[in-house]
């Protein structure tokens, strides 16, 4: 029975199993529409999370594939924009976790195999195209500190401070109350300033 369930799950494109050809064409048109209106938002959000062009492109692709796969289950409870934002946030966080796991594995294997070509320490390449040259040093240092924050604080800070969204908008995207968002941003700010003070000595 388990095998039947597993095979059936893998055999049918998720949520598209009972769709007619016209529905599939509609979905494709919808995807292009959604992509055209949200591609820049998703790409920029991913860039703020990973600060790397190639990774942001990868995340943007993941997001729109997920949008295509689960569009039929989108319940219009929230706006389409909020829904796409939520997917983008989840995909970015998942991507970073997977990358950390991979880096940890590479680091451990490189310790045991001397001839391994993998790097012992894989520094994150920061090539955020939205960062101007004159602010690059300061912003890179700040992004390193932001990357050490817990996921929800990081998300609140990125949406509020970089994406310039209001607390209400952030609250809607994160499915929290505006008060909770305010507290998250405050906590993020205080841990950042504490970290910066520590590093500056």
């Amino acid at each position: 029975m388990i095998l039947i369930v597993i095979l059936t799950k893998h055999s049918i494109p998720q949520n598209n199993a009972s769709l007619q050809i016209s529905d599939i064409i509609d979905l494709k048109l919808n995807l292009q529409e959604i992509y055209n209106s949200h591609k820049d938002e998703v790409y920029n959000l991913a860039l703020h999370y990973v600060q790397n062009i190639e990774d942001a492109q990868e995340i943007t692709q993941d997001v729109f594939v997920a949008v295509h796969q689960s569009y039929s289950s989108f319940r219009h409870g929230s706006s389409l924009r909020t829904w796409v934002y939520r997917i983008a946030i989840n995909k970015s966080i998942d991507f970073l976790k997977a990358k950390q796991r991979k880096n940890r594995f590479v680091f451990v294997t490189s310790l045991f195999f001397e001839n391994s070509n993998d790097l012992k320490h894989n520094p994150i390449e920061n090539n955020h195209p939205g960062v101007m040259l004159e602010d690059k040093e300061a912003l890179n240092a700040l992004f390193i500190k932001i990357n050490q924050l817990p996921d929800n604080q990081k998300t609140a800070l990125i949406l509020h401070k970089i994406e310039q969204k209001t607390q209400d908008e952030v609250a809607e995207i994160m499915n929290l109350s505006p008060k909770a968002v305010e507290s998250l941003v405050q906590r993020a700010k205080s841990s950042l300033s504490k970290n910066i003070k520590q590093s500056e000595g």
Binding site: M1, L3, I4, L7, T8, H10, S11, I12, P13, L31, Q32, Y35, K39, D40, V42, Y43, N44, L47, H48, Q57, T60, Q61, F64, V65, H68, H128, P129, G130, V131, M132, D135, A138, L139, A141, L142, L157, K161, I162, Q164, K189, L192, S193, I196, E200
Partner: protein
């Protein structure tokens, strides 16, 4: 270091080739899926195999008496004492 410097991060445009890549990935996803009838055939074959195994195990479970009598009937030794 001031946190307000974050507002200086500018917005950029997504590269134009991304949609083609997304379409390619979606096409690959649908190509990698198995047809429904093959899935059902495989599932039924697996279920038959599983139930046959259970049936055989239950019906011909190892009974020491049966093993001995079978060994005796075809003159097989069921011990290591070759020179008794």
């Amino acid at each position: 270091m001031n946190i307000d410097i974050l507002s200086k991060v500018r917005k950029t445009e997504a590269p134009p080739f991304l949609y083609t890549r997304i379409e390619q990935r979606l096409a690959n996803l649908s190509n990698n899926t198995m047809p429904k009838n093959v899935v059902w055939a495989l599932s039924v074959a697996f279920a038959i195999l599983l139930f046959t195994n259970i049936y055989v195990l239950k019906t011909y479970s190892t009974d020491p008496y049966k093993t001995e009598s079978l060994a005796e009937s075809i003159y097989l030794l069921d011990n290591n004492m070759l020179y008794k």
